[in-house]
Symmetry: C2
């Protein structure tokens, strides 16, 4: 967890917009579990955030000054803003210009068309090699990524979609709001047995957002040729002793595979995902909700919500509510 000694809010001059750069007024910050991993002084897929640096974060904003051919004043853009009020787009830090007039507001676009939705899309369809009829199990099912995974699977003809989430309220949300066939509460005992009861023929695709004991229970229940999508391990990010996974031999017995990925690996293919995700959000096949936390100063608390389960849907910090899409 992030406490008062982890971050501090400091004033500094508004950054200068040099040649080839654009100045961005930040509107929303995307609060993602992976930010917590960047705070570790340990091997990762990006370097650790250095002491004294701005916290690395996705975010969106509006271009207020541009000396770059890539951005016009008034463009609403998405990229790595960091936890701050102003960001600079440059060749080293490129932003995507968001589409106007889609009928989705900025928070929804950052959720369904942002890293969250893209992670769900490429994780399920590419890494998980999902096909119609598959039995799909998703952990973190009430979360921003997990809820979209299950809805894509359902829209694409899954045999069954079962979520795993924490507590009866979240589990009800997964079934009633997101339309999963069932949801299992990992806080109750006997998770492996309950997965077996929900999926008696085994799991074809397990989309793992949490790692640890939940991953182990899923491994115990994989079907032949199962694909385990290693997306996140939120149960382990704050752990001092990581939980071991004992059932890896099930991969041999069932000829299964576990495969990890980072959504950035698919950057060349975001456009194809955007088309389908936008269509699904607009016609209601993807139900989504955003959990808005007002104020840059509350970004650390917003990050902690992801680990306490206190959020509902995609967590975003509102830095400037005037930044909007048409």
């Amino acid at each position: 967890m992030v406490d008062a000694s982890t971050t501090s809010l400091v004033d500094s001059p508004t950054p200068h917009c040099g040649p080839g750069e654009a100045l961005i007024k930040v509107g929303l910050l995307s609060i993602d579990p992976t930010i917590r991993t960047w705070m570790n002084d340990a091997p990762g897929y990006l370097p650790p955030i250095d002491i004294g640096d701005v916290i690395r974060s996705g975010g969106s904003g509006v271009v207020v000054e541009s000396r770059s051919e890539h951005y016009r004043v008034g463009d609403v853009v998405n990229g790595m803003t960091g936890w701050q009020e102003w960001a600079v787009a440059s060749d080293a830090n490129r932003f995507a210009v968001l589409p106007q007039g889609l009928g989705l507001d900025l928070a929804a676009v950052m959720n369904v068309l942002g890293a969250t939705g893209l992670t769900a899309y490429f994780g399920l369809l590419d890494v998980g090699a999902f096909k119609a009829g598959d039995v799909v199990v998703v952990s973190g099912a009430a979360g921003a990524t997990g809820s979209v995974v299950g809805q894509i699977a359902r829209a694409r003809g899954a045999g069954k979609v079962v979520g795993i989430a924490g507590g009866p309220e979240k589990c009800a949300e997964v079934v009633e709001l997101y339309g999963f066939d069932a949801c299992l509460d990992y806080r109750e005992p006997g998770l492996s047995r309950r997965i077996h009861e929900a999926c008696p023929k085994g799991i074809d695709v397990y989309f793992d957002n949490v790692g640890g004991a939940v991953l182990d229970a899923a491994l115990a229940n994989i079907a032949m040729h199962a694909r385990i999508v290693m997306c996140g391990a939120i149960s382990q990010y704050n752990a001092t002793d990581r939980e071991g996974v004992a059932n890896t031999s099930m991969l041999i017995m069932r000829r299964g595979q576990m495969k990890g990925f980072i959504v950035f690996d698919f950057a060349q293919r975001y456009a194809e995902a955007h088309v389908e995700l936008a269509a699904m959000a607009l016609d209601g096949r993807i139900v989504h909700q955003e959990h808005l936390v007002p104020g840059l100063e509350n970004a650390p608390a917003a990050l902690n919500l992801l680990f306490t389960g206190g959020n509902h849907g995609k967590t975003l910090v509102v830095v400037d509510e005037s930044v909007r899409l048409d």
Copy 2:
């Protein structure tokens, strides 16, 4: 471990050879770690051996009577003989007729061209998607499968081949006899650090025969897009509490995959492997040794050798030494 209460040697009549069947006089038994897994009353890739049944096992023998078009008297055949002196080939239990005149004796054929060599071949090349230049790490490197994995990798142009084995004697054998670039003793402390020193750019293919803590140490050291071949977990077969693997999140960080397989999955492609494996054994690119244990009554003790590390090379039980290839 198998003790005196696990098995008993019993006399029964020589089996009858019915229509479509062949009677086989068993020569050698293939003693493989997987036999131990078939003794568990737990999910597996084959049903557990029932109490009172013959112990399931690969083996070879000579056809002494045939009422099948598939076998002639005098054929030396390989298949699932079980731990017994006589076996029956049938439509439900097919045997492969072994090639005569290759210049390899029966024990060598059962090692390099048998399940052991085939497991190494398909595991490394197909499941592991090995390519020239890869840094390959193999656990159980002094074992029958592991020693062949490393030698195929070397012959196919690996960047580096590092073994992991138990004790200085085995490690010396891996380097001096099997020609690996290095071998690490897992019984010494700091295995993860020593893997890092041997493979500073990380592991491209890790061929896992042992599971548990060794697998965990390898996971900590994978390179980007690493392939982990899940072949066996010999460290866990006798364990009452399985060791957990804590570093599965490295699959996310490094976009790695762990994939399990059983050699039987490749049965349609054995012929292509036999050609290459036989050529490599004959010209010395694959050095092999067989550990012969005389007497059917010693089969349980021979199986235990695999878990104590008391064997050198492929362990075979000699049931009848008169059964030979030309």
